[in-house]
């Protein structure tokens, strides 16, 4: 695969992703454990924590999929196997949280 890239280039990409993943892991831990929002922010502080945690996770996941799993180099066709389940997952979550509210 990825015939247009030399082995060295791919290796460099791998190492970059690996370091990126490590850095993001450290960041997410710092954000969760070290970052305190003022009490007065109330629920917003809590929501920010959730958002930061998830955004970092999505970033990391994207790096894994894009480089390690070769989505970047491979047949673009393969992307549907990622998009469709993600879409269905969001339908489920949207229905049960936004529309469902507290009663489901």
């Amino acid at each position: 695969m990825a015939a247009h890239l030399s082995t060295e280039e791919i290796q460099r990409a791998y190492i970059k992703v690996f370091s990126g993943l490590l850095i993001l892991t450290v960041l997410t831990v710092i954000a969760a454990k070290g970052l305190h929002f003022p009490e007065s922010w109330g629920a917003i502080g809590h929501i920010l924590h959730v958002v930061i945690g998830l955004v970092i996770a999505v970033l990391k996941a994207w790096m894994v999929v894009y480089i390690f799993m070769h989505i970047k180099f491979d047949n673009p066709y393969i992307r549907v196997f990622i998009y469709i389940p993600l879409f269905l997952f969001s339908v489920l979550v949207f229905a049960l949280t936004v529309l469902g509210g507290s009663t489901l």
């Binding site: 082995t7 831990v29 390690f68």
Partner: protein
Amino acid sequence: MSALTLTHEPVTGIRHGKLGMWIFLASEVMFFSGFFTAFIILRNSNLAAFAKGATELSWPLAALNTVVLIGSSLTMAMAILSLENGKKQRFQLFMFITFLCACTFLVVKYIEYTTKFHHGIYPSTSTFFAMYFIMTGFHGIHVLGGMIPIGWMLSRSFSKKGYTDYGRVEILGLYWHFVDLVWIFLFPVLYLIF
């Protein structure tokens, strides 16, 4: 009659096994989607219990495991690359590290679980722990499931014939990265966010 050409190149250009693995991974995403949905719903109705549960987990252990899995993903990717380039020893080395990482992950998981049990924490303790045990449990089963072919390929590569089936290793790699990916979400969701 001469040989038939019913078996030709895959129409999509993606080998059957690899295509199959991607379809399987789509299915796996839905499987974990079920758990994540349940997690979100239960969390929204029991914020307090979930916050309390998360503080009782050991995030340093989980962070360690995150690093271990990320590392194993790298070594797996490198192993595939090495095999593609015919570098047998590098392949063996990287596969071995991957295997080792998987073992480490499971040992850490084992320590985590047993400490929980010692503190009297079981799935019945709260919905948070129910979700914790089932999500990490299924993830652990996936790790274990991945170790079997990793170990098998590794041992085969030491045999006389060696192991050269690049295609299979690539498929295994996809699976392995997916296992890593699930953990990337489990880590913040279970241990960090509350």
